[in-house]
């Protein structure tokens, strides 16, 4: 399924945007947060795989280029609208139904901490239909299972077209699980997100 009015309207009604990616997704995510307006009226949560001990570069670049309030998540941070949050390295990020984040140092999932699955699964329990999640390029299966949970809870789930992803495995795994509402090209994803109201 390609981009259509139904998808655009579900995106517009979303209060939360979840973005997950790994190898090959940084550049897209970087350009994507640049286009989001400061008054998006949604909460954006980014989970991107990265190594511990090499902090601040991604966060710094994103913060400098975002028009929205940007913050690396600290434990018990309140989840606000019109803000972009990024999951910190070497922690899993969970979403509490009372509207705040909690962090977790437990075992890596799919060799990853932060794991996209962990955040997506906890988001699926808290948010239902008013949520959009996008899974981008990556070299492992993390995120696919979590995206399925989101799909089952009624979220709009989008997967980057594996044909054009730098690393196809992550989006392809989500498609194999039937976790995607639709598969979009990067161009279509940008087009969709620009239709924010």
């Amino acid at each position: 399924m390609a981009l259509d009015d139904n998808i655009i309207s579900r995106w517009q009604q979303s209060e939360t945007l979840l973005l997950g990616g790994s190898a090959g997704s940084f550049k897209i995510l970087f350009h994507l947060i640049k286009i989001l307006p400061h008054d998006l009226n949604k909460t954006v949560i980014i989970i991107i795989h990265r190594k511990k001990n090499f902090f601040s570069e991604i966060e710094k670049l994103f913060a400098e280029n975002s028009r929205m309030f940007f913050r690396e998540i600290s434990d018990k941070d309140k989840i606000e609208s019109n803000a972009i949050y990024i999951a910190p390295a070497n922690y899993h990020t969970l979403i509490e139904k009372e509207g705040y984040f909690s962090l977790d140092v437990s075992e890596a999932v799919w060799y990853s901490k932060p794991s996209i699955d962990v955040t997506f699964e906890s988001a699926a329990e808290v948010y239902s239909t008013k949520c959009t999640a996008i899974l981008f390029s990556g070299a492992n299966q993390d995120g696919a299972g979590g995206l399925l949970k989101l799909y089952q809870s009624g979220a709009l789930t989008i997967v980057q077209d594996p044909g054009e992803a730098e690393m196809a495995e992550m989006p392809q795994s989500a498609i194999n699980l039937n976790a995607a509402t639709c598969v979009l090209t990067t161009k279509e994803i940008f087009e969709l997100l620009q239709n924010s109201t």
């Binding site: 001990n53 902090f55 998540i73 600290s74 434990d75 018990k76 910190p88 070497n90 922690y91 969970l94 979403i95 509490e96 139904k97 909690s102 962090l103 977790d104 140092v105 437990s106 075992e107 890596a108 999932v109 799919w110 060799y111 699955d117 962990v118 699964e121 906890s122 329990e125 299972g145 979590g146 399925l148 699980l177």
Partner: protein
């Protein structure tokens, strides 16, 4: 690595039921733990032990030996040596010069799990010439992990995985210099075990047991809701000597207005605080 698919999701009502059950039967109170994480841990136990919710309740009630296992799985015992090297650097620069002025420095490492952080501190103190006049108490709720901590023997593979952390702390040599290596095991030098003591302490129900010049409690508060964090902050405050130091995890900050007045920020990023007032 594990597949998280097909995991049973516990309803909020079931979660409350289980918390009550554990409290009544075993005296451990998980009611102020953060819910999302607790649910995940329970889901994990159920998956590992192949139990559904009712089976889990059943074994908790009828198999007294199961509880220790349950406790081990429900509390997160993942730890690293020199986790967040920048923290150890900051400690070295901002806190150790002060600790060195004491004739004797007592340290409490609360929630020490299998001891990696206690030994990291011991190594840092040794390198800075502070170890011989210091004593480090490591406490945890979990008796099983404390057994490992006391042994101070880790797999060589694990110790090697901390080599990068160690390198980033700027300490001389390499992490393996502090271990005796035999086959695939690495035992911490016996000297580094002399001034440390591990014992059981439950942050939720136990209280002050000594006076310390520094307390570290890193990546423990993330599992607690804010009110519980404040109760424990009070225990820490009362356990510290005047101008004693409190070190929280990299992403854990003191949020309460009351305690922000009682602790001065020494390092905002690494969450190192100093007790002020009386």
């Amino acid at each position: 690595m594990k597949d998280t698919l097909g995991k049973d999701i516990i309803t909020p009502a079931q979660l409350t039921e289980l918390i009550d059950l554990v409290k009544k039967l075993h005296g451990f109170d998980f009611s102020d733990y953060t819910k999302a994480s607790l649910k995940r841990r329970l889901g994990r136990i159920m998956m590992l032990k192949k139990l559904d919710f009712y089976d889990l309740k059943h074994v908790l009630v009828n198999n007294p030996d199961f509880f220790q296992e349950f406790l081990e799985e429900i509390t997160v015992n993942v730890t690293e040596m020199f986790r967040d090297p920048a923290f150890y650097k900051s400690l070295n620069r901002l806190v150790i010069p002060y600790l060195s002025t004491y004739q004797h420095a007592k340290i409490w490492c609360a929630g020490c799990s299998s001891g990696e952080e206690v030994y990291s501190l011991a190594i840092l103190f040794k390198e800075e010439g502070l170890y011989k006049k210091s004593f480090i108490y490591g406490t945890d709720i979990n008796t099983e992990v404390l057994k490992e901590a006391r042994k101070g023997i880790y797999s060589l593979r694990k110790i090697k995985s901390y080599a990068e952390n160690y390198l980033f702390t700027g300490l001389p040599g390499s992490i393996t210099d502090h271990f005796t290596i035999m086959y695939d095991a690495a035992a911490i030098h016996s000297e580094l075990r002399q001034n440390v003591l591990f014992s059981v302490h439950n942050l939720i129900s136990d209280t002050v047991f000594n006076e310390f010049q520094m307390i570290t409690c890193r990546n423990v508060f993330i599992y607690f809701e804010t009110e519980l964090q404040e109760r424990i902050l009070d225990v820490f405050y009362r356990s510290l000597c005047p101008l004693g130091y409190l070190c929280l995890g990299n992403k854990e900050t003191i949020r309460s207005e009351g305690f922000r007045k009682k602790f001065k920020v020494i390092d905002q990023k690494e969450n190192i605080y100093q007790k002020i007032g009386s």
